[in-house]
């Protein structure tokens, strides 16, 4: 595990970046989350909110209420006495996913790029436990790490018009759950009936950064039935507590 002291970088006078590395790996991400949890328990006045990413924590603060030096001392203090680090996630989510070619319209293209059969692609994608590394791009978009190397395909040569909401994408060595229709340079692998983000539901956002996540293949009739339930505000995924 990389245990060198993090780099502290200013992003303007109201945000501090605590950078633990420059790579995507679970140990680095776990240090980010450990700092995030420890800072939350300190409840520093003037600390507005934090944004964990793959390898850094952005701390948004009001410099008129929280002096930079005090924030830096707090961050350094946490590093002097590091909390127990563990890469074990708190929860395992099982998210239904329909890989029917009508919803996962690029499975054939991914098969052509990888030389794998459609069945093998689904088996690999649904046979993996992923780590939720971060949210980004749009509300509820989840970036998942742990994709089998056989499925690591490059992005589309040119972006395609908007995909439907709740599409599961593949590209750049990661897989991604979307929540909104957006143009994309990634490949469309399937669709979940689950709403990773629902503004009128509690919780608004389903999973936490650091959680583990798997996909459970469902056929088209099952997808349609789950879709109807999800449309009514029901959570159609399973959550298992791991620790």
């Amino acid at each position: 595990m990389n245990s060198t002291a993090p780099r502290l970088l200013d992003a303007g006078e109201a945000a501090l970046v605590v950078e633990f590395g420059s790579e995507v790996d679970p140990a680095t991400n776990e240090r980010v989350l450990a700092l995030d949890r420890a800072l939350a328990t300190l409840a520093l006045p003037g600390l507005r909110e934090t944004v964990p990413t793959y390898r850094s924590l952005m701390i948004h603060y009001d410099p008129l209420l929280l002096d930079r030096s005090r924030l830096v001392d707090a961050v350094r203090g946490i590093e002097i006495a590091p909390p127990a680090l563990s890469c074990a996630p708190n929860h395992l989510w099982t998210i239904p996913c329909c890989y029917d070619p009508e919803l996962g319209e690029d499975i054939a293209a991914v098969a052509a790029m990888t030389g794998l059969s459609a069945e093998r692609i689904v088996a690999l994608h649904a046979g993996t436990t992923y780590r939720v590394y971060m949210y980004g791009f749009a509300p509820g978009f989840c970036y998942l790490g742990g994709l089998p190397s056989e499925l690591a395909v490059s992005r589309r040569p040119t972006p395609r018009p908007p995909h439907p909401p709740n599409t599961i994408l593949l590209g750049g060595g990661l897989t991604l759950i979307t929540t909104f229709a957006m143009p994309t340079g990634w490949w469309l692998l399937g669709r979940t009936p689950e709403r990773m983000f629902a503004p009128a539901r509690e919780p608004n956002f389903l999973v936490d950064v650091g959680d583990a996540l798997r996909f459970a293949p469902v056929d088209r009739p099952a997808f349609d039935a789950l879709e109807a339930r999800a449309e009514n505000g029901e959570i159609v995924s399973q959550r298992e507590r791991l620790r």
Binding site: E13, E23, L57, P63, F137, G140, V209
Partner: protein
């Protein structure tokens, strides 16, 4: 009848904003909020509303408003827009009383790109994720997550009438020149050699017509990266200056994504974000490096300016054209020069 603001006509990009949607950046939620936070807060304070209260952000597309249910007081502040009450010109920034029979037009004027119309009272729209700030790309805030259009109604809770009815807002802090924008270097200054950093500060940069609420795109001599232009995504602060592969900097504004994957050469200090926002496409400017102490001092000066009560000066008849006085039904708010 409950009072409500009624949109008669709105150009593209006129939206409802409040101080912004915070607390959800970690879930990929864009904060939105006003492009010029200082002008926005000034308009709200001028009518006694909290600085982060919901108000209308007017783009260069302009807006025309009326009111249902009785008169209301509004404060208009921002760029040098044209303000007309029933077709008669009023000075800016101003507090205005708008009656149901009248039309208030706010249109692009001599300078500036954004203007705010704040109400004495509360615009009563249901918040989404704790905020009414409109972010059209993710369909959050405002009315169904979209920009305002003709016939939209914004109901008002607790409307009050401000005295004097028509007044000039004294806000010298809004007279900001935009030729120099102050920045703190970093967080990825190590992706640029000293000569590229010097070129960035030397400029000059020209604001591109492709700019919008999300990003201000800059044209100028392209910058070169010393170690590639892809970084593993990390957080993005308001005013972050990304340099993508083509070397043309992008300043991330109110509708920024909370994370991104290009090296960030510098960050506009928050006190200058509104100053930059008010530039129009084609405007030329330079960046100037400051220390974090200077950035915090500039921020403190803004907070102090807004903390004091805002001075409203009644309009005198001599401030106005005779056409205006003839055209105006409601002149109680205007006092004589000898008064």
């Amino acid at each position: 009848m409950k009072k409500a603001l009624r949109i008669i006509a709105a150009g593209p990009g006129v939206t409802l904003q409040d101080g912004g949607r915070f607390g959800y950046l970690r879930y990929g939620v864009t904060p939105a909020g006003p492009m010029d936070p200082l002008a926005f807060a000034t308009a709200n304070r001028a009518v006694g509303a909290p600085p982060n209260a919901a108000a209308i952000e007017v783009s260069l597309g302009g807006v025309e408003l009326t009111v249902d249910g009785g008169p209301i007081s509004l404060a208009i502040a921002g760029g040098a827009f044209r303000l007309q009450l029933n077709g008669s010109e009023l000075p800016m920034p101003a507090v205005v009383r708008l009656a149901p029979s009248q039309r208030l037009a706010i249109r692009a004027g001599a300078a500036g790109a954004w203007c705010y119309a704040a109400v004495a009272g509360r615009i009563d729209v249901a918040p989404m994720l704790g905020s009414v700030a409109t972010h059209t790309r993710s369909h959050l805030g405002g009315l169904s997550g979209r920009a305002l259009v003709a016939d939209d109604l914004l109901p008002l809770t607790g409307p009050r009438l401000v005295e004097p009815a028509i007044a000039i807002i004294t806000a010298p802090w809004l007279e900001r020149a935009g030729e120099t924008i102050r920045v703190l270097l970093g967080p990825q200054s190590d992706y640029f050699t000293a000569d590229q950093m010097a070129a960035f500060l030397q400029g000059p940069w020209t604001l591109s017509v492709r700019s919008d609420r999300m990003a201000y795109l800059l044209d100028g001599q392209p910058l070169r990266h010393s170690k590639g232009f892809n970084i593993v995504s990390d957080g993005i602060a308001l005013g972050a200056i990304q340099v993508p592969g083509n070397g043309q900097p992008i300043v991330l504004m109110a509708d920024r994504q909370p994370t991104g994957g290009y090296p960030k050469i510098a960050n506009v200090i928050e006190a200058d974000v509104g100053r930059l926002a008010q530039l129009r496409a084609g405007a030329q400017f330079r960046f100037r490096r400051v220390t974090i102490e200077e950035a915090v001092a500039a921020r403190r000066a803004e907070a102090l300016a807004l903390a004091a009560p805002i001075v409203l000066t009644p309009l005198r008849r001599t401030d106005l054209s005779s056409e205006f006085l003839l055209g105006l039904n409601l002149i109680d708010g205007i006092i004589d020069a000898a008064h």
